[in-house]
Amino acid sequence: MHRWLGSRARSAVFAPIGDIGRAAGVERRLDEAIRSGVLADGERLPSESELASMFGVAVVTAREALVGLRSHGLITTVRGRGGGSFVLGPVPPGEAELRSRLTTMSRVDLADRGVHYSVVMTGCAELAAERATSDDVADLRGLLGSMAGDDAASMQQADTELHLALAALTRSARLSREVIRLESEVGALLRLPLFEAHHRSSLLRETTTLVEAVEQRDPDAARDAMRLRVRRALEDLAELRTGVR
């Protein structure tokens, strides 16, 4: 039994849907549930076939609805075992919001969050290097490829997905949920300096080292690469914070 069929509000989200505009109907139902917080940030959605049977629609219809949600940035899909579609809502914070969040944080608070994030992510990198198959590595390489463009937003997106993919490789659903929460809370802040090109090239270099370490099945090197990457981002963010205050 899915934990999220527990409440009536939740059951209502998944009640069968009428005939007309089925995919749009499914999408709207889920869209509203995410924006209103009935489905919380970081929750995993049921699989396409489970959604199809809950809503009483065809699998292809459920899939179409998920594509719509993904294009609106309301869910993210992580490939592989431990993966699935996860709620990203209600609305991913924009640059202005992140900057204002940054100005209200003390350095002590920033370091506190950064250390927590670093310990979780280095653990994910280490386990991912132990467990990744060649297919998993190919997925990571694909994400690395989409980080190479010279565009802050797509790099932020690809880097987030890469972290979620590393978390999924640990095969721990709890850890994946924790990483999804941390990515929206801390990861998004740490990616704020990527609006500057030289930070993007540092990140690309560090992420290449990280993916290579996973490919070589070298947990220590993967760990180190992640630790250095997070620490540098934290320091860049501290300097950016000095500038924006």
């Binding site: 003390s106 350095r107 002590v108 608070d109 920033l110 370091a111 506190d112 950064g114 934290l234 320091e235 501290a238 300097e239 950016l240 000095t242 500038g243």
Partner: protein, 241 residues
């Protein structure tokens, strides 16, 4: 980040101003923390004066004697918590916290069943000043006994009028408060470190409270008067040390 112009060799004027800045930083630290030390010392003295010298105090006597003085220390809203911690050896093995903290200045409950805090005798803020005497500055560290926060703790032995050490008088300040109060006094990239070269407050730049730094990466340092704290700065590295 504000740009920092490196001091050219032999440029006396910029050296002077960097040294002046360092002196001002140290003075700000001394002003706050020596003021706090003096307030703690007054709390210890006043508490001892309220105790009946003709008999050994029981815990309730101590709580009653400490509370009015602790209220004075706690009148400074930069202080997170303050009070007295008994030396169990002076109270037939009984541990006692007469400590108040937080916005509501609530009394901290006795550490009871959780093994991690039941015995504070092993903590640096307790052990070291009892052994060495005088002021001890601990941290910044995560305090599990009282606040579960990242704090700096100042402790002094509290003696009764017979000269018997009863425990410690002390106060905590949040690392976050130190950042607010002292951060602006530090040049970008300058850090206030403790005797373990661990950052207490970072003034801009790439260091954070709790980091350990290499003193050799800084070209100027100034020890704070009567405190085991030092301000480090570097004109060359502009905080990238």
């Amino acid at each position: 980040m504000p740009s920092v112009t490196p001091a050219a060799p032999g440029d006396d004027r910029s050296d002077d101003s960097a040294d002046e800045r360092l002196a001002r930083s140290a003075a700000a630290v001394e002003d706050f923390l020596l003021g706090l030390r003096d307030a703690i010392a007054r709390m210890a003295g006043d508490t001892a004066a309220r105790l009946d010298p003709t008999r050994d105090p029981v815990p309730a006597d101590l709580v009653a004697a400490v509370q009015p003085s602790a209220a004075d220390v706690l009148g400074d809203d930069r202080v997170l918590g303050a009070g007295f911690v008994a030396d169990p050896d002076a109270f037939s093995g009984t541990s006692l916290l007469a400590w108040w903290q937080g916005e509501r200045r609530a009394r901290v409950a006795q550490p009871v069943s959780l093994g991690r805090d039941a015995d504070y005798r092993s903590k640096e803020w307790f052990r070291t000043p009892l052994r060495a005497g005088g002021l001890h500055v601990t941290g910044p560290y995560l305090d599990y006994v009282c606040s579960d926060e990242f704090v700096l703790t100042l402790t002094l032995p509290l003696e009764d009028r017979r000269g018997v050490v009863l425990g410690l008088a002390g106060a905590d300040v949040l690392a976050e408060t130190l950042e607010q109060v002292l951060g602006p006094a530090l040049a970008p990239g300058a850090v206030l470190v403790n005797r373990h070269d661990q950052v207490v407050v970072a003034g801009g730049g790439r260091r954070f409270a709790g980091d350990r730094v290499d003193r050799r990466a800084y070209d100027r340092s100034r020890a704070c008067r009567d405190l085991p704290l030092t301000v480090l700065s570097s004109s060359r590295t502009a905080g990238r040390a």
